[in-house]
């Protein structure tokens, strides 16, 4: 570059345009600073994730179809501590079962995601196979309608993408979705809560 035959033109003094630019930049930086100041009190160092408040869920079925994932991030979970261990589980069997057997015509779950296993007379355990569960809430409705409501929907965080705007929350009929802190990412039912 030293060989450049033409010397660089001398720098002009700060032009009007340059001055305006500096001024605008300073204003915008101050603006950003102000924004930070304003939001300093409103930011959360903690992250948030989406979760369903089981007390508000109305089992409208939209969790199964509205998630951006092909198979919804919402699944049915089971708090066994409030389960009645019924022989005739209304979450497992259709409302009018033909027989209390595991045959397809008696099962409520469209994907067969609930497993029924015998414990002792007259109690049966029901567990959810999450790989098959599509979050349709049919069983949740059955359990809440007749039983104790030990089955309920939760956003599973191993699947949830934590979208900035949850597409299920937008359509949720019960307005049950809310953001919860990352370190308490579930709203589980327990023996003491309601």
């Amino acid at each position: 570059m030293d060989t450049n035959p033409q010397p660089n033109p001398p720098k002009p003094p700060v032009s009007r345009r340059q001055f305006m630019r500096d001024g605008a930049r300073a204003t915008m930086l101050v603006g950003v600073g102000g924004l930070v100041g304003l939001l300093a009190g409103r930011h959360a160092s903690n992250g948030f994730v989406w979760q369903i408040d089981p007390a508000k869920c109305v089992r409208c079925g939209l969790c199964a179809t509205s998630c951006v994932l092909e198979q919804s991030a919402v699944k049915c979970v089971h708090t066994h501590a409030i389960c009645g261990y019924c022989r005739l589980c209304t979450a497992y069997f259709v409302p009018e079962p033909n027989a209390l057997s595991t045959a397809a015509e008696n099962q409520l779950c469209p994907t067969g995601a609930i497993k029924r296993s015998f414990i002792e007379d007259p109690y049966y355990e029901y567990t959810i196979d999450e790989k098959l569960c599509i979050g349709c809430a049919k069983c949740v409705e059955g359990c809440n309608r007749f039983g104790n409501g030990s089955l309920y929907l939760q956003v599973r965080h191993d699947r949830c993408l934590n979208c900035n705007e949850c597409s299920i929350a937008k359509v949720c009929a019960g307005d049950a979705f809310r953001r919860v802190p990352v370190d308490h990412p579930y709203m589980l039912k327990s023996t003491t809560s309601h």
Binding site: L62, A64, T65, G84, C86, P95, P122, C136, K138, G147
Partner: protein
Amino acid sequence: MNGQEPERDVSRRGFLKRGARTAGALAAVGAGLDIFEQLAVAANEKNANPFPYDTGRLSKTDPKLVAYEETARFKCPRGEAHRIACGADDQLLIAAGNYISILSRDGALQSEIALGGPAQCVAVAKDGTIYAGARNQVEVFDAKGQRKASWEVIEKRPWITGLAVAEKDVFAADSGNRVVWRYDRDGKVAGRIGAKDKERNIPGFVVPSPYLDVALHRDGLIRVNNPGSHLVEAYTFDGDRELAWGRYSAAIDGFCGCCNPIALDVLPDGRIVTCEKGVPRVKVYANDGAFECVVAGAESFPENVKANEGGDPLRGALDATVNSRGRVCILDPVSGTVRVMARKAEAKGS
């Protein structure tokens, strides 16, 4: 070199055209398909629940079977009602919230008795003594509402949900321990009825949710519901199981769902009134368990059908009591009302 140029040019243009065409076609196909899909969805299921839990068939009762009609309806003075009982002069006692509310026969609030905790159930003796079941104790009040005694249940997980008073005994259905306690009038435990016992051929109560109820029958036996087994059972005061009837069926003559009936009372002529939840309905059975008629079907309790919006399904189950004139008073905690039902003929007469 020169010869290659036109070919290159053509290929480039061709490439661009191909690209543009593909993009355009894809966009058109995409948009078209999406519109088609939305139309198809809109036409098929207009914002319907994609996976409905269908109990439509159960929510309708054959009107020919309904033998009762409503003659009065009044508001329950407090929320979170659980059980209703009938006292002297057909007073109505409602265990609701932390109170026992006492209503006159036409629904005017007469007085209230405050309990320490949520009132689960209530019963009245002939002498006017009021027995109120809080979760882990039976509280005894005189007719004026003065506390007389408090009987604590000693077993470890008490949950009193039903009471019945006989001449000398008080029976408390304890859902938590799955038994019916027999007390004498002084609060001494005189028996433990219905516990699983192979030797006495008692299978035990299956109680998935706290709805064990007990009623006194004029044949001298008590009637207890066994919800998980869909049975109504009869026991002697000494705890012998004499009789059991009932079967699972979503049809009108059976008990529906996982655990029904949840409440019972006895008509003056000895027939038995049962209440169910899930498909809320109140029915009358003969003493031997033959289905007789419907007092009120699911369509009478529209709010109750999908009630548990607060996320707590243990609220809102119906209860019924029978007054001296044989009217069935149904407590619907969801709508917060008490309905007085009379046989159709009588209702017209009165």
